[in-house]
C-alpha cells in the first residue's frame, strides 16, 4: 500500500507543486496517473521512489519511507524514468551485474519478455535505438518482480506493435498485492489496461477513482440533443450529434474514453468533484 500524508513538494519552497496531498493507493491494481505536460506526474513518481524528497508530509510504501533509500525498500520497487539509461554492456552482462540486486528476478521470464517485445539481443545496449533501450528496461523491470512498479511515460518511443505488446505484458504480470503505477500524458495508451485513474493538474489531485466507479458515475456516449439540466463534463460536436461525458443518472453502461474523461476533468474540476462526491 502507498500512502501520501499531507505531502507538500516544490522545487522551491515559495512555489509548491503539491500542497497537502493525501492519497491512499491499494495493492493489486494498475493505476494510471494522467496529467498534462508539466502537471507534476514525474515529480510525484520521483517522490515515491525517493529521488526527490517532500518538503512536508510523508510517503510510505508498504511501511517504508522512500526518502531513506534503504536497500530493503529499493529491492521491492522499480522505477522506469521517461528517458532510460543503459550502460555499454551486452544484455547478458547487464543481467549478470544488475539482476542479483533483485532477489525475485526471474531469468526465464526476462528472456521471454525480451522476445515478446522483440528486443534485439545482439551487441551493446547503448547502441540500440531509444525504443529498443526502453523495451529492454521494461523487460528487465518486469522480470525483477518488485512489489511496486513505477513507470514514467513508458510508451514514449515505442512503436504501435510494441505498445500493444506492452499492454498485454502488463496485464499478464499483475498479481494480488502488486502495485503498478503508470504515468502518461498519452491517455489512449492506457485504455483497457488500468483499473484506477488518478488525474493531476497544477499539483492538484482532480480525480482518484476506479474504472468501475467512473463507469457508475459517468456516461460516455454520442447524442443528438443534450438533456436539460444534465451535468456535462465534456462535449465535442461531431457530424452526427455530440460526443459527451456526462453524469450517469440512469445507470447506463458505456465504454470509457480516457481521453474525453481526462479533458473533461481537467477543464471542469469543480463539476468533477461534485459528480464524484455525490452518493
Amino acid at each position: 500500500m502507498i500512502e501520501f500524508k499531507n505531502l507538500s513538494f516544490g522545487y522551491t519552497s515559495k512555489k509548491l507543486l503539491y500542497k497537502n496531498l493525501s492519497l491512499t493507493i491499494e495493492g493489486g491494481c494498475i493505476y494510471g496517473l494522467l496529467g498534462k505536460n508539466g502537471a507534476g506526474k514525474s515529480t510525484l513518481l520521483k517522490n515515491m521512489v525517493g529521488t526527490l524528497f517532500p518538503l512536508e508530509g510523508e510517503i510510505t510504501i508498504n511501511g517504508k519511507n522512500p526518502k531513506k533509500r534503504q536497500p530493503s525498500f529499493l529491492q521491492t520497487i522499480y522505477y522506469i524514468p521517461e528517458d532510460v539509461f543503459v550502460p555499454s554492456l551486452t544484455i547478458k552482462q547487464y543481467k549478470n551485474l544488475f539482476a542479483p540486486f533483485y532477489p525475485e528476478f526471474d531469468e526465464a521470464n526476462f528472456y521471454n519478455y525480451l522476445s515478446e517485445l522483440d528486443v534485439s539481443v545482439d551487441g551493446k545496449l547503448n547502441k540500440l535505438s531509444f525504443g529498443q533501450q526502453k523495451k529492454f528496461v521494461i523487460a528487465f523491470a518486469l522480470a525483477c518482480n518488485t512489489k511496486v512498479l513505477l513507470m514514467d511515460e513508458p510508451t514514449n518511443g515505442l512503436d504501435i506493435p510494441s505498445k500493444t505488446q506492452f499492454r498485454k505484458l502488463i496485464a499478464s504480470i499483475m498479481y494480488d498485492d502488486r502495485i503498478i503505477f503508470i504515468s502518461t500524458h498519452q491517455v489512449r495508451d492506457l485504455e483497457n489496461m488500468i483499473d484506477n485513474v488518478i488525474i493531476v493538474d497544477n499539483g492538484d489531485l482532480l480525480l482518484h477513482s476506479s474504472i468501475v466507479n467512473i463507469g457508475n458515475k459517468l456516461c460516455f456516449k454520442t447524442i443528438t440533443e443534450i438533456p436539460a439540466n444534465a451535468k456535462v463534463l465534456y462535449k465535442e460536436q461531431m457530424l452526427k450529434g455530440a460526443t459527451v461525458v456526462m453524469e450517469n443518472i440512469n445507470r447506463e453502461d458505456s465504454k470509457l474514453n480516457l481521453e474525453h474523461l481526462f479533458t473533461g476533468v481537467t477543464e471542469n474540476p469543480a463539476l468533477t468533484k461534485e459528480i464524484f462526491s455525490a452518493n
Partner: protein
Amino acid sequence: MNDIFEFKRFGLLFKKTIAERYVQLIGITGLALAATLVIYSAVLYFTGGMGRNLAQNLSFVYGIIGGGCFLGSVIFGYFNTNASGAAYLTLPVSAFEKWFCGMLIIGVLFPSLFLVFYRLIDSCFVLFYHNGLNKNDPRYKDMYDAVQVYDFNNNFAKQCVMIYANFASAMMLGSLYFNKVSAVKTALVYGCVLGLLYILNLTIANMLFHNVDGTFPFSAVFIKVGNDVGILGLPDAIANLVLLAIQFIIPGILFLTVFIRLREKEI
C-alpha cells in the same frame, strides 16, 4: 536484511561499478599511469639524463594528483543525465556502500596501483642508469649514489599525497553538487577559495607590514629585507595545527560531506 552494509551486496556493487564504467575508471587510471611514464621519460630526455630528481618529482606529482583528480570527478559522475542519476540512486544498495565503494577506489586502489607502477618504472630507470655507469670512472660512487629509487617517505612525496587527498575529495564532492562538467566547475570553486585565502592573507599582511613581498595562502608571509626576502612563518604550534588541518581534517570533512551529500542527493 542489514540496510547499512552487507559484504555480498557491496561486492556486487563494486563489480557493477567497475564493469559498467570500465572505460572511464580503467581508462583514467591507465592514462594517469601512461602520463607518469611519459613525463618521467620526457624530462630525462630533455635534460639529457641530468634531471633525474626533477623527473622523479614531476612525474610523481602529475601522476598521482592529476589522475586522482580526474578519477575523483568521475567516481560519482552518474548525475549528468536524470536517467543515469535515477538508476544510480535507486539501485538497491545503501548510501554507505556507494560511498565506501568510491572511497575504496580513490583512497586505496588508485594510490596503491599508482605507487606500485611508479616504483616499477622508477626502479627500471634507476637500474638502467646504474648499469650505464662506467665502473672505472673515479666519480662512479658519487654518480651511483646521486640517483636512487624514489623515497615515498620524502617530504615532497608526503605533500603530494596530502594535496591528492584534498583535491580528490573535493572532486568527489563537486561531482555530487555539479551535475555537468563537474571537474571544471569544482576546480574553479577550489581555485576561487584558494585565491580568496591568498588575497585575505596578503591584505592582512599588508595591514601589518610595509615591506611585504608576497604571501602563501595559509601559513607564510614573505618580507623584503634589503635585497633579500625573509619568510615570516606561523608559530610552531599553529603551523602544526594548519598542517594537521590540511593533512587530515579538511580531507576528512570533505570525505564525510561526500557521504552526507550522497544520502541527500536528489535528481
